[in-house]
């Protein structure tokens, strides 16, 4: 439907370009190049000073030369960007909050951020002209007291831009809570472009957008245990997530290699487990990240992975088995090995303390309990565990070790509820415990959300959906961003090679995987496991690929990456301006010459 309308509008747009230009044209500098919108593509042409046609800058051209202009992710509802650009004055942007409530601080912070985003549209070292209209941004929040994340919160918003007078443009954002309003401001900031021909900021003048996401959970996982990441680099990641309306920063904060989370109740875990005294995340830093995220509509979701993927930090506890066991390949998937000993009662006091520490700083609506890659051989290497199994009249076979795992998970679940003070939704990785043939014996579908990390065609997906489980998709064949580099143990390239290009990320559709059960899919998440990444490589590993995921999860477009390519190239430039160092995906020539870099 939308598509057919678009075809018609295309013709009109070419005609209207002249009109647009009437609004911006003043004969000033003479740039070497300008752009023309022809057949839905902006083409680079030599600037002809004699031409009566006014010159259009690259971004001004792109803003109208495409159904969704420069917007990323593309809106899901009615989208009309109008046909006119107006010059605006960067110093005259006013933000008016219409209804007051508990979210006032968040609204103010988001308003400040909006102004910063606008200023970042201007290239470094350039001072735009300060003639032009003023912009009044009205924020109409129907529930100004909502400040908490939840899986069923309403992120929708409506944006209207229209000229109020010859001196003023009004932009009004309606939303049902702070989070929706925030997304609206993000969209509005993408409608403001810098015109490098006239050295002026421009805004799309007549805009109507109704927008809301398809999936409520849109995440990035960062593993800060295999290698440490600075708090600044994590905040930069959240900044970029906000720009593409991702809403969950899943923090895989511990693993067998290190324990950088500062536990105030069990400080020795950090003391022995961190890579060094400076390579830790103290509570103050975590609270700052959580605050930073909330202002940007990004929940910070902690994971405490257990009972496997533990090791460093637990040295003195006596609660682990097979820590640093050799040869490691017999007891785990990468060095060092280590698993918690579920038979020790003291373990659950430790867990409760860790959970409490996390509950205090993360203030979260969800909790990730890990639960992947448990090795029965590891547990079976302990005499004491064997004895416990036999005392319980269990065997020493695979099924019995699932019982032991379930014993652990049940007790850990109770402690989690106690620590968080509520029965919050819990998330677990797919594993032998979550196999659909027996999962209901262990995990209640109303308590647990399952995060799928196997491939997108794994029959487990359908099996789990049929049994009513809610899923988050992180299928490694499209969403593991660590793939494609050299192996760090052994030879050749790493296990999940090859590298996954943004195109594949874009086309990885949860809806196609879930079919008729797609309402049970909460969303998806890209994972950056950090065996071969740290602060030095972070931006390039995540971006712009995570943005491809963002549009997939926000909009579930029924089109392929080809339709998104021009916008994606612009989005990458935008990320650069936000201070991110994303991977380049094509020569800059392709950004300046749309439609020529086909296969």
């Amino acid at each position: 439907m939308v598509h057919k309308m678009w075809r018609h509008k295309l013709f009109l747009n070419i005609i209207y370009l002249f009109i647009i230009l009437q609004c911006v044209n003043t004969a000033e500098d003479h740039p070497a190049w300008n752009w023309k919108c022809e057949d839905g593509k902006c083409s680079k042409t030599k600037h002809d000073q004699q031409s009566p046609e006014p010159a259009l800058s690259l971004e001004a051209c792109k803003l109208f030369c495409n159904e969704f202009g420069l917007l990323w992710p593309r809106p899901t509802g009615n989208t009309d960007l109008g046909r006119f650009l107006s010059k605006i004055n960067i110093n005259n942007i006013e933000i008016q909050i219409e209804k007051r409530g508990r979210s006032d601080d968040l609204m103010n912070a988001a308003g400040q951020r909006f102004k910063q985003l606008v200023s970042k549209a201007v290239p470094k070292g350039v001072t735009p002209k300060t003639t032009g209209k003023s912009v009044y941004v009205y924020l109409v929040n129907n529930n100004p007291d909502v400040t908490d994340f939840s899986l069923d919160f309403d992120e929708s918003y409506t944006l209207r831009v229209s000229p109020e007078s010859t001196e003023r443009i009004n932009a009004t954002i309606f939303g049902n809570n702070f989070f929706g309003i925030r997304h609206g401001m993000e969209t509005l900031s993408q409608l403001i472009v810098f015109d490098d021909i006239r050295n002026h900021l421009l805004i799309a003048r007549d805009v109507t957008i109704d927008d809301k996401p398809v999936y409520p959970y849109r995440g990035i996982l960062l593993d800060t245990a295999r290698n440490y990441y600075s708090v600044e680099s994590i905040k930069a990641t959240i900044e970029a997530m906000a720009a593409v309306k991702l809403n969950t920063f899943h923090w895989h904060i511990t693993d067998s290699q290190s324990f950088p989370f500062v536990s105030s109740r069990r400080p020795e875990l950090t003391k022995y487990g961190a890579y060094g005294p400076s390579k830790v995340y103290p509570a103050a830093a975590l609270r700052e990240v959580v605050r930073f995220g909330r202002e940007r509509g990004v929940r910070v979701l902690p994971e405490f992975d257990a009972p496997a993927h533990v090791g460093e930090g637990w040295q003195d506890s006596g609660l682990t088995v097979c820590f640093k066991a050799e040869p490691w390949a017999s007891y785990c998937v990468e060095p060092p090995c280590g698993q918690l000993n579920p038979t020790k009662e003291e373990l659950y006091n430790y867990l409760e303390d860790i959970y409490k520490d996390m509950a205090e700083v993360f203030d979260t609506d969800l909790f990730h309990m890990g639960g992947d890659e448990v090795s029965e051989r590891c547990w079976n290497s302990s005499q004491q565990i064997q004895q416990f199994m036999l005392e319980n009249r269990w065997g020493l076979d695979r099924a019995s070790y699932l019982k032991l795992w379930n014993y652990f998970q049940t007790k850990a679940q109770d402690r989690a509820y106690k620590a968080f003070g509520k029965r919050l939704p819990l998330i677990l990785w797919t594993s032998t415990l979550t196999e659909f043939s027996h999962v209901e014996n262990f995990l209640n579908k109303d308590d647990y959300i399952i995060q799928v990390w196997t491939t997108g065609v794994d029959p487990q997906i359908k099996g789990l959906l049929e049994k009513g489980y809610r899923l988050i998709m992180s299928n490694y064949d499209a969403l593991y961003f660590d793939c494609g580099y050299g192996a760090w143990v052994g030879s050749g390239n790493n296990w999940c090679s090859p590298y996954i290009g943004w195109q594949k990320v874009y086309e990885n559709s949860p809806m196609q995987m879930a079919q008729e059960y797609s309402n049970q899919v909460l969303g998806g998440e890209a994972a950056l496991w950090s065996e071969q990444a740290d602060s030095a490589t972070l931006d390039a590993r995540l971006w712009p690929r995570a943005a491809a995921l963002a549009e997939r999860l926000w909009a579930e477009p029924d089109t392929t990456w080809h339709h998104a390519e021009a916008r994606m190239l612009h989005l990458r430039e935008r990320l650069v301006r936000l201070g991110i160092q994303p991977e380049s995906i094509e020569p800059e020539w392709c950004y300046q010459n749309e439609g020529y870099c086909y296969a």
């Binding site: 070497a32 067998s256 961190a274 050299g486 590298y499």
Partner: protein
């Protein structure tokens, strides 16, 4: 006495494999004995601060771990379980591995004791120098090294720094007996000798070399004998060392393509720093291509005017001079390649307007796949004499800017016969290509004051296959072989006796493995080349010496890693290139017979941390846990 001597000395696993092994061993023993005697003498004279365990210098946060060298490995212990508190870098430096990168090719002996120093305590004395130019370069390169150490020193946490305890001064004495030309040239002898020993209350380092570049490599090695101890919060240096070193290959390069995507000057300067840290000597700057022409030449400003991505995406001649200057102090030549006759684009479209006729054909012609390898297309007009006079001006300015006049790169890859066939259907396009190359060479000769450079490179292509290869003069032309090492034509160039630089796509292309940029397939040259693959690629061992078949001995000048940038922008540069290019640097400098053994992992890991300290965002090899537990991940 004897056991003490053995504990103090260790001989590094330097390259003893060939003839002269015995002689070298004897030399080593002699050197060891001399220096040991000196150390002994010095030890008797010093106050007991030299014997004070390092932990007494520690004045900060309580460290949790101590690393102790046992069985040639640094083992991590709980600090509370041991009475010696030693940081990981210090243990690494004092344990079995030399921690040097690249591994020296001659004998190495290193003390196993460390002494505190301060960057400001280093001073230079030039004992002998063949020219004022060399002396000035030595002074400036020394300051660069000291600045690097200062940066390292500053990175220690403030609370750990102690200013009161004694440090020793280090006097670096340099002797250069050889060429008075400080440039990296074809015939530059890059070898050097380094001897570090205590003398009175200070340390003396003697570096002798035959060129500025050799002496500079000595500085680089010296800086690798100095490290930051995070527990002491200060720099430490080995108290004695002797190293005899020189490269196996004389061309050790990195190509960066700044045309597909633009890289700011600061990125290039940082890359030069990183190259210097691993003793690479050639920055091959693929400055232009069909996508853009960012080099604003004074002799032909129209090229950048029409070809650059925008006003912020150009290199001025001042930029180039700054890069060349930094590179020269790092012992690196800057080899600028303006690729021709293919790989040109909009930069060359102003000819008709300027009355010069068509300088290029097929620019941005569609469908591109008919006329070139990737969009956009474009090829120079081989029949337009203005093309050659322009090239002459370009070449002259490049030579003048870089000061490199003994080596040149003409480009010359991936010419489309179809493009030219459209315009010149009277001539075989291969003949046109050959004619173009001949006339470009003529232009180069004129640009270089009437003398052809000693070695002028072409990329391997159809022109470097039989029957065209034989028509290229071996005395002038060299071939940079980019084809797969398994392709017969890659080998044929070597068998025919042409001087070559190897850049085999199956080993040394750093851009591979990131999927295609034009569709969602896996891309044309995947998978990713790991540092281990780069390190273990030794194509020259496949040479079959033959007297009968007319096959000439191979003349491998060296190798170069290639970073093409269709899918790389400024942000990702460091992590894509480093530490993988450091792996190539050791392959070409040391060419050790062994592959990526455990010691190589440990040394490269240390080299990566050196790069980080210099502000180069090199990718990690593995989880930091593996650095903390050496050998546990191997």
């Amino acid at each position: 006495m004897k056991s003490w001597g053995e504990a103090l000395w260790r001989s590094a696993s330097a390259n003893f494999s060939r003839v002269g092994r015995l002689r070298r061993a004897l030399l080593l023993l002699a050197a060891a004995a001399c220096t040991a005697a000196a150390v002994l003498y010095w030890r008797q004279q010093t106050d007991d601060s030299a014997h004070r365990p390092l932990h007494s210098m520690f004045a900060g946060v309580e460290p949790q771990w101590s690393w102790i060298c046992r069985n040639d490995r640094c083992e991590r212990l709980l600090a509370s379980e041991t009475n010696v508190l030693q940081s990981l870098p210090t243990c690494n430096m004092l344990c079995a591995s030399t921690q040097l990168w690249p591994q020296p090719t001659g004998p190495v002996s290193l003390a196993t004791a460390a002494i505190r120093v301060r960057s400001s305590g280093l001073s230079l004395q030039v004992l002998a120098s063949p020219s004022r130019d060399v002396t000035e370069h030595l002074n400036d390169a020394f300051i660069l090294m000291r600045d690097d150490l200062k940066t390292l020193e500053k990175s220690a946490a403030i609370e750990n720094r102690r200013s009161d305890s004694a440090t020793r001064d280090v006097l670096v004495r340099v002797t250069v007996n050889g060429t008075g030309d400080p440039r990296m040239r074809q015939d530059t002898d890059e070898s050097y000798k380094l001897a570090l020993r205590p003398a009175g209350k200070s340390l003396v380092v003697d570096i002798t070399a035959h060129s500025f570049c050799g002496a500079r490599h000595g500085f680089e090695t010296l800086s690798q004998l100095i490290w930051l101890d995070p527990y002491a919060g200060s720099l430490l240096i080995l108290e004695a060392a002797t190293i005899d070193d020189g490269p196996k290959f004389r061309y050790r390069g990195l190509l960066l393509d700044t045309a597909r995507n633009y890289f700011p000057v600061s990125d290039i300067l940082r890359t030069i720093d990183a190259m210097g840290a691993s003793k690479m000597n050639t920055f091959h700057w693929h400055v232009s291509d069909s996508q853009s022409f960012p080099l604003r030449l004074q002799s032909a400003p129209q090229l950048a005017q029409h070809g650059a991505y925008g006003p912020g995406a150009v290199y001025t001649t001042d930029d180039v001079r700054a890069i060349v200057r930094k590179a020269r102090l790092r012992g690196i030549r800057v080899l600028i390649e303006v690729d021709a006759p293919a790989h040109v684009g909009r930069a060359w479209t102003w000819g008709p307007g300027a009355g010069l006729g068509h300088l290029a054909h097929c620019v941005e012609l569609e469908p591109w796949s008919t006329y070139c390898g990737e969009p956009p297309c474009g090829q120079l007009n081989p029949r337009n004499p203005h093309v050659y006079s322009l090239l002459e001006r370009i070449y002259a300015e490049i030579i003048q800017l870089t000061g490199v006049d003994d080596i040149f790169h003409l480009g010359g890859d991936e010419v489309s016969e179809r493009c030219w066939a459209q315009h010149f259907n009277d001539t075989d396009p291969m003949e046109l290509w050959f004619e173009f190359t001949r006339r470009a060479m003529l232009a180069l000769e004129k640009a270089n004051g009437g003398k052809a450079p000693d070695l002028t490179f072409l990329w391997s292509s159809r022109l470097t296959h039989t029957p065209y290869l034989e028509r290229l003069d071996k005395k002038r032309y060299g071939v940079q072989v980019w084809g797969s090492s398994r392709w017969p034509e890659s080998r044929a160039v070597l068998d025919a006796g042409y001087r070559s630089v190897l850049s085999h796509v199956d080993a040394w292309y750093l851009d591979c493995g990131f999927g295609s940029w034009r569709d969602s397939s896996d891309g044309h040259c995947g998978p990713y080349r790991s540092w281990q693959q780069i390190y273990e690629h030794r194509p020259w061992i496949e040479e079959i010496p033959s007297v009968a078949t007319g096959v000439e001995p191979w003349r491998v000048e060296g190798g170069a890693a290639c970073q093409w940038t269709e899918q790389l922008g400024s942000g990702g540069l460091d992590a894509r290139v480093w530490p993988r290019t450091a792996a190539l640097a050791e392959r070409l400098w040391s060419d050790r017979v062994e592959g990526a053994t455990a010691d190589v992992y440990l040394r490269l890991d240390t080299q990566r941390s050196r790069l980080l300290a210099k502000g180069i965002h090199a990718a990690p090899l593995w989880p930091r846990w593996c650095s903390h537990n050496p050998h546990a991940c191997l």
